[in-house]
Amino acid sequence: MTTEPAIRAHALGRDFTLSTGPLLRRTRTTATAVRDVTFTIAPGETVAYLGPNGAGKSTTMKMLTGILAPTRGHLTVLGLPPSRRRTALAARIGVVFGQRTTLWWDLPLRDSLALTRHLYRVPARTHTARLDHLTHALDLAPFLHTPVRQLSLGQRMRGDLAAALLHDPDLLILDEPTIGLDIVSKTAIREFLLDLNTRRNTTILLTTHDLSDVERLCRRVILIDHGTLAYDGDLDGLHALAPAPRTLVVDLQHPADPLDLPGARHLRTQGPRQWLELTGPPAPAIAEAAARHPIADLALHEPGIEDVLARLYRRPT
Amino acid sequence: MRLYRAVFANGLRRHATYRAATAAGLLTNTVFGLINAGVLLALFDARPHINGYDAADAITHVFITQALLAPTAIMGPPLELGERIRTGDIATDLMRPAHPLAWWLADDLGRAAFQTAFRGAPTFTAGALLLPLDLPADPARWAAFTTAAALAVLIGFALRYLFALAGFWLLDTRGLASLLFLAGPAFSGVLLPLVLFPEPLATTMRALPWASMIQFPVEAFLGKHTPPELAAGLARQAAWAAALLALGALATTRATRKAVVQGG
């Protein structure tokens, strides 16, 4: 085992030059997608790379995979500078884009996977064993012979994951791996990734908009906003960073006017159900509500990571 | 009517966004015009008169042809309708309070109007600047040509509409597309003026709808016809347009019924 980090980014930045306007009077403006990002990821870590749309997530992913050359800063992935050693690096990492497939659209999944084996030069014997394992773990058997274009989104994503893992990469980079999937597929993929990380110690870096992915999979969160690092640490720390209030949901027996309770702010009403944001301890508010109306049910919601992030993103920078 | 005017305007605007592609297309049309004109100039240098054409007629034919390629879409592209049928998006189109044929015609006329103004006319102008083309002084010839070109656009639309609807019955329309866009240039006068082909091939080609899309409008431009011949040619174009559009309307009815029965 080497102690070399899986990813080391130091003061990493990336600008884009935009040309707009008519051909002869073009104006060039420079937009910064990633301003200054520094982080290190150790082998075996599972890290979520989060941020609002346009924060620089995709640009970072493209730099990590060597598709884009950084404008400034220093970057090594598995000890290699991605943009100069793209091909060498490609053989050691697996990449999955949730928005588009890395499989060949018109080929049956089986052919796509066989091609992948040749492109990554996986020995036949290893391939057979690994394909068997992945077919079982990702339940690929029912659609191995189906052309990729006919697969459902969930099937395609499982196929993509298999293709990205056939060469047993040390680092798996996932860009929105669960986007558009149903709950069952999402859960299956999360459990698979968790198992992969536990058994093979594969480093996983993922971007996502689904925070259940993060809660289930990632021990560490890197938050990027406006091209800079906004947070790097565990999930609990993220909660502390922008404490979000708890929500009280009251189901009255009959619809009523918005409740005005001590230590609670009314959020919205839907039929007999009302949502309130707690600004103080819940007991006085609940007592007051019960005193005024017959109550059918009560629920107290802890803030989710969505609420925390929503507050963080809204914060001026 | 206001609806279709809006669809027309939308078709026009949509193509106006492809500025670089339009410029590139203009370049391609001009280059091909020059190459084809080069061959025909050499030919007419060896044989100054062939079946009523001379060198000026031939190179004018070439540039009118290049100017009409985009508006008539004789070499493609097919209507987007075909793709919508393939993906099933057509189901939402059928729910619109408009006849699909009229809707797509208005959209395609918008495209043709844009292509005429920004690709056809500039291509011809480039040809006229580079080569001694035959420019009619008689406004009647311009009028005859404009009418013939407009009818050619209608025929071009009707053919591509029928082809797109074939997607309701055929699983894979790529083979049909390749044949359609092969027959177009060969039988219309794009490849060579039809007057150069021997009989009975030339007469046979003239009997097909494609000749009404290029060869006849070119001859109207060149003033090759007596007024009765011109009227007969325009009537033939109108008959092709009417027949193909009627067939399109019939196919629409059948296709809609099929879509409703199969649930899209």
Binding site: T65, I67, R100, P123 | -
Partner: protein, 275 residues
């Protein structure tokens, strides 16, 4: 450790063959469609041939070339472009791949993106263009008045290979434009398909100026015109020296080097702009 993947990249030629084999097998799943599309491509070549014969039927000779000699020119051009179309014709879809993001997925694999691009969706139907052109070439070689010295016979494959290489390079250079201008595909067509149209007729037909440009600026003259002059052992009607007809391999190498440079520059541009 025999069971770990070989981390050296796969050799490009083997990758290419593997890719086109896989694609051919996939296309062969629909034999009827494949045959139909191949037939349509053959027909397009046949129609062009009819046009050439029609023109020569009226003119008898153009630029001193008879119809049979014109078929030699057409056969050489058709073979060269047919080969380029078969092998790397798909590179013209670069712009579409960039827009759809598919090009990025080619960059994350440990093999040359050029090989992946050229082999993408390879279809044997493209043989439909090459085979009639080859037949035309064979017919013209057999019937035209060629003095078959051993030297001439031996240079023939070299001339054909040079012509194909020039066409491949032209095609690639045209495609590389799309790294810089996304909608350049049709502009590139005026070079690639325009070049094809130009080489299908004896070049002198287009006049001395065009012949000069097509010799020294974009060396398309070496695809069909100079080889035909060499095979027929005829002086150049545009007055260029006869030694030039031996320059086809050199022109091919030069243009291939230029195409490689265009690809590298384009790829670097893409990876530095991400557009």
């Amino acid at each position: 450790m025999a069971d770990t993947p070989d981390r050296r990249p796969a050799p490009p030629a083997r990758t290419y063959l593997r890719l086109i084999w896989t694609w051919s097998r996939a296309m062969a799943q629909y034999p009827l469609s494949l045959a139909f599309l191949g037939l349509a491509q053959s027909l397009s070549v046949t129609i062009e041939l009819i046009a050439v014969l029609t023109v020569f039927g009226h003119a008898r000779t153009l630029a001193g070339f008879t119809a049979t000699e014109a078929l030699l020119v057409y056969g050489l051009a058709g073979t060269a472009f047919g080969t380029a179309d078969l092998l790397i014709g798909q590179v013209e879809r670069l712009g579409a791949h960039i827009r759809s993001g598919a090009f990025d997925t080619m960059l994350i694999r440990p093999v040359s993106p050029l090989v992946q691009l050229a082999a993408d969706e390879f279809s044997p139907r493209r043989l439909g263009k090459l085979l009639p052109a080859l037949a035309c070439l064979a017919y013209a070689l057999a019937t035209a008045d060629i003095d078959w010295t051993p030297a001439r016979a031996l240079t023939l494959p070299l001339l054909i290979a040079s012509g194909a290489a020039i066409c491949c390079a032209t095609w690639l250079i045209g495609a590389c434009l799309q790294f810089f201008i996304a909608e350049a595909r049709e502009a590139a067509n005026s070079i690639t398909y325009g070049g094809k149209a130009l080489t299908e007729y004896p070049l002198a037909v287009f006049g001395t100026d065009t012949a000069r440009w097509a010799t020294f600026a974009l060396p398309l003259a070496f695809v069909s015109w100079q080889p035909a002059l060499h095979l027929l052992d005829r002086p150049d009607p545009t007055g260029l020296p006869e030694q030039l007809r031996h320059a086809a391999p050199a022109a091919a190498l030069l243009l291939t080097a230029l195409a490689a440079l265009a690809w590298r520059t384009g790829l670097r541009h893409y990876r530095s702009t991400g557009s």
